[in-house]
């Protein structure tokens, strides 16, 4: 496999994404809501009479950190599903598949294009979030809560693994779907297990400590490997070409 070929596809796809309003809005809105919105929630809830106690604040901030994981699973589906279904809509797959590029190079390129912008947006928003959250909670806690192991694991391990999971799932769904919206809808189902973990932590069923996050990472890694195998099997160029064109 030649990474250079995959990169050519990736840069082309990223250029296309940047010209799609919905993709740009999604990539800008998420950092705004999570990076700025969540610290504002901390600020206003904390400013109310009684405010947030120094014992309640870390639980809340860990829960908020989990939003980056959900974002990392959700945002790539928007791009990954369009990346393949977009070729179907533009009827551009035939000349593309006639070019000297292998299926794995093509899929890797599309995966890179669906990975870099959302994960970049997540990282930027996380930096903003950590800085603002520290600013509004420093007085109550007496120290800067971020960075810590929890958000470190989420950003450096879980978020990339979840983004890969979501991209692989989208490839599988898109190879079968004929409509970008349908593919995106089905693609977002991948968020459900992560949302369930979040709810479980909120109701106290599980604790999002380092050990739990490592277990979740291991599970996602295994699912990633299985989905990678399935996504390469699902992408049958002849079937896609004869069905799509």
């Amino acid at each position: 496999m030649r990474i250079s070929k995959a990169w050519i596809v990736a840069t082309k796809d990223m250029r296309v994404f940047l010209r799609k309003k919905y993709a740009v809005y999604s990539l800008v809105l998420f950092p705004l809501i999570v990076g700025i919105g969540l610290p504002l929630v901390l600020r206003f809830v904390g400013a109310r009479q009684g405010g947030l106690s120094s014992t309640r604040l870390p639980i809340l901030m860990n829960a908020f950190s989990f939003f980056f994981l959900i974002g990392a699973a959700m945002l790539p589906t928007l791009l990954a599903s369009y990346s393949l279904v977009g070729e179907k809509i533009e009827k551009s797959l035939e000349p593309l598949l006639a070019a000297p590029i292998t299926d794995s190079e093509l899929l890797l390129g599309k995966s890179i294009a669906s990975f870099i912008p959302p994960v970049g947006a997540i990282y930027i928003s996380s930096i903003v979030f950590m800085a603002l959250a520290n600013l509004v909670t420093h007085n109550t806690l007496g120290y800067s809560y971020f960075p810590n192991w929890t958000i470190g694991l989420i950003l450096l391990l879980l978020a990339p693994l979840s983004a890969i999971l979501s991209i692989e799932w989208s490839v599988i769904v898109s190879s079968r779907a004929s409509d970008a919206r349908a593919a995106q809808m089905q693609g977002t189902f991948i968020v459900l297990p992560l949302a369930a973990i979040y709810v479980a932590s909120e109701v106290g069923a599980i604790s999002l400590d380092t050990r739990t996050l490592l277990i979740i990472s291991a599970v996602i890694l295994i699912v990633d490997i299985i989905l990678f195998y399935l996504s390469t099997k699902t992408f049958q160029r002849e079937e896609i070409l004869t069905k799509w064109t």
Binding site: I8, K12, E90, K91, P95, L96, A98, P100, T102, R237
Partner: protein, 306 residues
Amino acid sequence: MITVENLTKKFGDVTAVEGLTFQVEEGEVFGFLGPNGAGKTTTIRMLCCLISKTSGEGKIADYQIGKAADSLQIRKMIGLVPDNVGLYSDLSAFENLDFYGKLYECPEGRRRENIERFLKMLGLWERKDARAGSFSKGMKQKLALARALVHEPKILFMDEPTANLDPESAKTVRDFILEIKKQGRTIFLNTHNLDEAQRICDRIGILKTKLVTIGTPEQLRESLSRPKTEIRLAQVTEALVSALRKLIPNKIEVSGDKLIIDVTDPDKENPTIIAAITSTGGQVREVTQLVPTLEDVYLQIVKETK
């Protein structure tokens, strides 16, 4: 350059192409004519390694189609203009060509040079930065043609490149094909347009799932159409036609003031026919020996193979 032997493609129980055998020489323009569903697109897709063959053999230069190790080499040396242009509508004309130039590993300087050259040849250079999505159908087709050539392929496959284009755009595309023909490129052209095939192609194959016939346009015309003599009369009456039918055995068609008569040997039969007409009171105004067109040949073949 292209060698095909007994090539067959089946989709489930449906046979799209059966037992194709032909060769295309280097620098030759080979046209495939056939009705919708005849298997023209399927053949191009097999030759471009886009779909697998069911049986038979196919070679592009020294590489075998259907052999995984060879398919990348084949794709490197070919250019494809599919029936759907398949451009990225959000990218500019230049970006579309640049992307494919990079995929085909065309060095940057050469790539830029080729993009400029082909866009200028096709009258699109001024619109190089405009989104491909804003182009008319004809402009998109021209851009797809430039895309297929940006890496200077040895073989160019074109699937109905002038279909649904206005006459002016179709002429530009045809002239461009003739121009690249001069450069010695091998061209494989699928078309519905008989006039186009006659003007551009060195040889033509007529396909209807099976290859019905193959030859130069002249060979096809000569081998498959009977000559006809067209005689314009002062007046054509039923009495005259029925009297004539009793005198000569040839098949006679009436079209306005003209009689179109099938002949085998015009030099021998025409004087007899003229004599028969005058003897039955007909006044001959004009006699024309009709040369069968490729359309006559094509329609005859398609009718015969139904």
